[in-house]
Amino acid sequence: MTFEEIKSAITAKFSDAVLENPEGEENAIYLDSRSWSKIALFLVSDKDLFFNQLECLTGMDLGSETSLEVRYNFHSMEHRHKVEIRLTVDRKDPKIPSVEQIWRMADWFEREAYDMYGIVFEGHRDMTRILCPDDWEGWPLRKDYEVQDTYHGIVVPKIKEGWE
């Protein structure tokens, strides 16, 4: 299926949940995160779509004034088509439904997004930090992140301005 066909298949079923794309972003589908669990189930169970493989799950910070984003790249092994789904997450209260039980791969990738951006995936069975230590402060990949000065008495080296 082409991108347009996939998009219309989702729109036909969940017309309220498909949001308009921001300017210049044409190769992805923006969805309302409130209906995400239902749409996710639809993506994997519909015979024509059958996205059985989650290729990649990326957390994003669009800049310190705007919201966070989660991007999913799906691929269907049977039909050989792919799609990119983007969900917007509120920066102040970053919560989003988890798809960990649909695509098991999302388990660790959601934990990574939580670790790096502080996005809480609701319904995830083990929402803990994965790469950083459990007691690390802050969300490293956010654009407004500032490194803590010390960690258990060890001085944390800071990234210098402008690599020479």
């Binding site: 210049g24 493989q53 989650l54 990326t58 910070d61 050989r80 791969m105 660790w108 790096m116 994965i130």
Partner: protein, 365 residues
């Protein structure tokens, strides 16, 4: 009882800690704890220009640095819409496949070592060393190459490289039989690996397991053939899949066997590439003066020795990536490990972990 394994343990291939819950000798649950090598490569990338990121990709999977470079430059070139010269494409494929052989040799040798077979490890390292010597001739480094650049490669091939590589292949191809005799069909090795840690194809796909581990479960999926990048569509090669020759499809022996077969296929690709490579050509002609991709994003995956290596790059039009995400194949392979090792003996855990061929540098990034 909970047994702690690692972070320093000879069979964990790096710094990996496993919390193993056992019932007698039987393992009921494994919880991998990772992050000991975490240096936040993605944060570094957001503060570096596109060409400065390449040495960092080397250090993720330090056993297959050429393939890590390859995936990154292919993604950036797709974003910038650069077409590289044909000679460069051939050089990249030759380097990528040589590195795949080197990486698989290490994976198989170390796997034997995990199981308790020391000799095959030395045989395979002897031959891997010759490949590393060739890389040293090409770019001066044995492990961390920084060889593939956006739009080209750093150096042209040295004099006589093609002749020497043909000589190497003539020497190397008969050695595969030697490995098979000494390890693959060894009775003890088969007893330790066949029918152990069977990974069903649906579980593998759901967990995002890719590369040789996925193919061992019987799924005929290879990015080089199914989503060809560079000029992989020009070459003839088979995609080996697990057949359950010694036990069931998707067991440890199958994962080992698929890697062994892939070495042969890589030799096949190498022979074709070495025969067809254009005699001359400037390998620097398409390297841009300043890498400044247009606004937009790209997700490109390539086939690294460990599976689908994906780069998700978001550009805001500046010379620095706005966001760079690496989808690491070993990360997903390790995430299935907990599921895979339930119900096996404690000693089988070693065999299963080794068969997944993980590199912690790439998992922790």
């Amino acid at each position: 009882m909970v047994v702690n394994m690692g972070p320093q343990h000879p069979s964990t291939h790096g710094v990996l800690r496993l919390k193993v819950r056992t019932d007698g000798e039987i393992v009921s649950d494994v919880y991998p704890v990772i992050g000991y090598l975490h240096r936040c490569f993605e944060k570094h990338a957001e503060n570096l220009t596109y060409d400065q990121v390449i040495p960092f990709t080397d250090r993720c999977d330090y056993l297959a640095s050429m393939n890590m470079n390859f995936g990154y430059v292919v993604a950036v070139e797709e974003l910038m819409d650069i077409k590289v010269p044909e000679r460069v494409e051939y050089i990249r494929i030759i380097m990528g496949e040589l590195n795949r052989i080197a990486s698989h040799l290490l994976a198989l040798g170390v796997y034997g070592l995990d199981i308790g077979a020391f000799t095959p490890f030395l045989y395979m390292f002897r031959d891997r060393e010759r490949i590393l010597d060739m890389f040293e001739l090409v770019c001066g480094a044995r492990l961390l190459y920084n060889y593939m650049w956006v739009g080209g490669v750093s150096h042209d091939l040295p004099v006589d490289f093609i002749k020497n590589t043909f000589n190497f292949l003539d020497y190397f191809e008969p050695k595969v039989k030697e490995y098979n005799d000494i390890l693959t069909y060894n009775k003890i090795f088969i007893e330790r690996t066949a029918d152990i840690g069977v990974l069903p194809p649906e579980v593998a796909i759901s967990y995002g397991v890719s590369g040789p581990n996925l193919r061992a479960s019987g799924v005929k999926w290879d990015v080089r053939r199914d989503e060809p990048y560079s000029i992989y569509d020009k070459f003839n090669f088979d995609i080996p899949v697990g057949e359950g020759k010694m036990g069931s499809v998707g067991d440890c022996w199958d994962r080992y066997w698929v890697r062994m077969r892939e070495i042969e296929e890589s030799c096949k690709i190498l022979r074709q590439a070495l025969k067809d490579i254009p005699e001359s050509g400037d390998v620097h002609s398409m390297i841009p003066k300043k890498i400044r991709p247009p606004k937009g994003s790209v997700y490109r995956r390539t086939e690294s020795p460990r599976g689908d290596l994906g780069y998700y790059i978001v550009s805001d039009g500046s010379p620095v990536p706005f966001r760079l995400k690496m989808r690491s194949p070993a990360f997903t392979a390790l995430s299935v490990f907990g599921e895979l090792s339930k119900g096996w003996m404690l000693s089988d855990i070693i065999a299963i972990l080794g068969s997944l061929d993980i590199v912690l540098g790439e998992i922790d990034r």
